[in-house]
Amino acid sequence: MAVLKDLKRIREAGPGIEAVAYVDMATSTVLATSSAIDEPQERFDGLCDAAIALLDGADGEPDEAVRMASTEALVVCRSAADQEEALCLVCAPDADVSAVMHHARAAFDAEGSK
C-alpha cells in the first residue's frame, strides 16, 4: 500500500495540511499517521470515528467528505482499491478544502498507476 508509506509526503505536499491519517473503517483501526506536530493517539482515533460516520454512516455511502468547523477542516477520501480504507486530512479552518480533496484523490490515483 504505497499511500501508507507516503503519508508524510502527502501531508507536506498538500496545501495547509496539518495531519494525515490512513484508517481502516471496517476494524476502526488507524493504520498510519503523519503530523506536523505531536498529536495524541486519541486524536487519530477521533479521525477514524469521523471517517466512519461520514463515509459509512451517511445515506448513500459517499466516497469523499469534508467537515468544516471553526477550529479545523477535515477532508476524508475513500480508497478506490479498498472501500474500507480512507485517507483523513486535517487542515486549518481557512484551508482550500477543494484543493486538499484533489490532492487526496491524486495520491490514490498515483498509487493506482504504479
Binding site: G16, E18, A36, I37, G46, D49, A50, A53, L54, G57, A58, D59, G60, E61, P62, D63, E64, A65, V66, R67, M68, A69, S70, T71, E72, A73, A92, P93, D94, D96, V97, S98, A99, M101
Partner: protein, 271 residues
C-alpha cells in the same frame, strides 16, 4: 419588549453558555500568524470574567484575567514570557492610562507564542471584573499592535447568514432545502427529483441534522459546521449540510462547486 439579537447572545455568554468547550482546549496552527488570530478570537469572545491559562510548546505559560474581551490583569507568567522589568506587570491592574500597556501585553503574548505550534487553553472562572473606567487592553487593540485585522465576533443571525449564502449559491444549486428556519423553505433549478433526493437525504440524516452533528464528533459548543459529501458514480452531485445554530441548509450542487460553497460559507461566518 424586543431584545437585540446581539445583546441576547451576549446575555447567553454571560450566563455561562458555551464556555465548557474551552476547558483544556488545544489551539493548533501551522503558522504563528494563524495561532495569534486564534488567541485574539479567544480573548475577544471571552465576555464573562474568566481566568485563561495559556501554555505553549516548551512549557511557557501565562495566566490572564479576561473579561469583556479585555485583559484586566496578568496573574502569572514565566520569566521567558515576561523577562526583566516586564515582570512588574504581574498582578497589576492593566489600565489604559499607560499607553505602553497594550504593546507590553502584546509583547508578552508574542513571546509566549514564539515558535509554538499549539497552545493549550484552560478557562476557569470567574476572574476579577475589571473596573469599567480602567479597562485593560482589548483583543482588538492587541491585534492592532500585531498588524492583524480581527473579524467581528458579533456574527449575524442565522437568517442573515443563510440569506447571504443562498443568494450566492442558488444559481449553482440543483436543489436546496432549509430546515429549522421559520418559515422552512426549499427551491432549486426546477429539478424536482433533486429536491426529492435532498428531502430523503435530510430525513435519513436525522431531524435537522442534530443527530449527525453529534455522531460526527464535532466539538461541543460549535456554533456552526459544514459537511459536504460526494459519491462518485451514481450521484455526481455534492450534498452539503450547512448548520448554524438550529438552522440547517441542505444543498445539492455540482462537485466542482465545493470550493465556491466552502469559501462562501466561510465568508458568511467570518472565518
Amino acid at each position: 419588549m424586543s431584545v437585540d439579537p446581539t445583546l441576547e447572545r451576549r446575555l447567553e455568554a454571560l450566563a455561562g453558555a458555551g464556555t465548557a468547550d474551552r476547558e483544556g482546549r488545544v489551539l493548533r496552527a501551522l503558522s504563528a500568524d494563524t495561532l495569534r488570530k486564534r488567541v485574539l478570537r479567544l480573548l475577544d469572545e471571552t465576555v464573562m470574567p474568566r481566568v485563561l491559562s495559556l501554555r505553549a510548546d516548551g512549557g511557557r505559560s501565562v495566566a490572564l484575567d479576561v473579561a469583556n474581551g479585555r485583559v484586566g490583569r496578568i496573574l502569572t507568567a514565566d520569566s521567558a514570557v515576561l523577562p526583566g522589568g516586564e515582570a512588574e506587570l504581574v498582578g497589576q491592574p492593566l489600565t489604559m492610562e499607560d499607553e505602553s500597556v497594550t504593546a507590553r501585553v502584546a509583547g508578552c503574548l508574542e513571546r509566549l507564542l514564539e515558535g509554538s505550534a499549539t497552545l493549550t487553553v484552560r478557562s476557569e472562572g470567574p476572574g476579577a471584573s475589571p473596573e469599567p473606567t480602567q479597562p485593560g487592553p482589548s483583543a482588538r487593540a492587541i491585534a492592532e499592535v500585531w498588524g492583524i485585522e480581527l473579524a467581528p465576533s458579533d456574527l449575524p443571525e442565522p437568517g442573515a447568514i443563510f440569506d447571504d449564502v443562498l443568494a450566492a449559491v442558488q444559481g449553482k444549486a440543483r436543489a436546496w432545502l432549509m430546515l429549522g428556519a421559520t418559515p422552512e423553505d426549499s427551491g432549486g433549478a426546477g429539478d424536482q427529483d433533486a429536491l426529492d433526493d435532498l428531502n430523503a437525504f435530510a430525513e435519513a440524516w436525522g431531524v435537522g441534522g442534530q443527530a449527525a452533528a453529534a455522531t460526527l464528533g464535532l466539538p461541543e459548543g460549535e456554533r456552526w459546521s459544514l459537511i459536504a459529501l460526494h459519491r462518485t458514480g451514481a450521484a455526481p452531485d455534492l450534498t452539503v449540510i450547512a448548520r448554524y445554530d438550529g438552522v440547517h441548509l441542505y444543498l445539492s450542487v455540482p462537485r466542482e462547486a465545493l470550493g465556491f460553497v466552502a469559501d462562501t460559507w466561510r465568508r458568511a461566518v467570518s472565518v
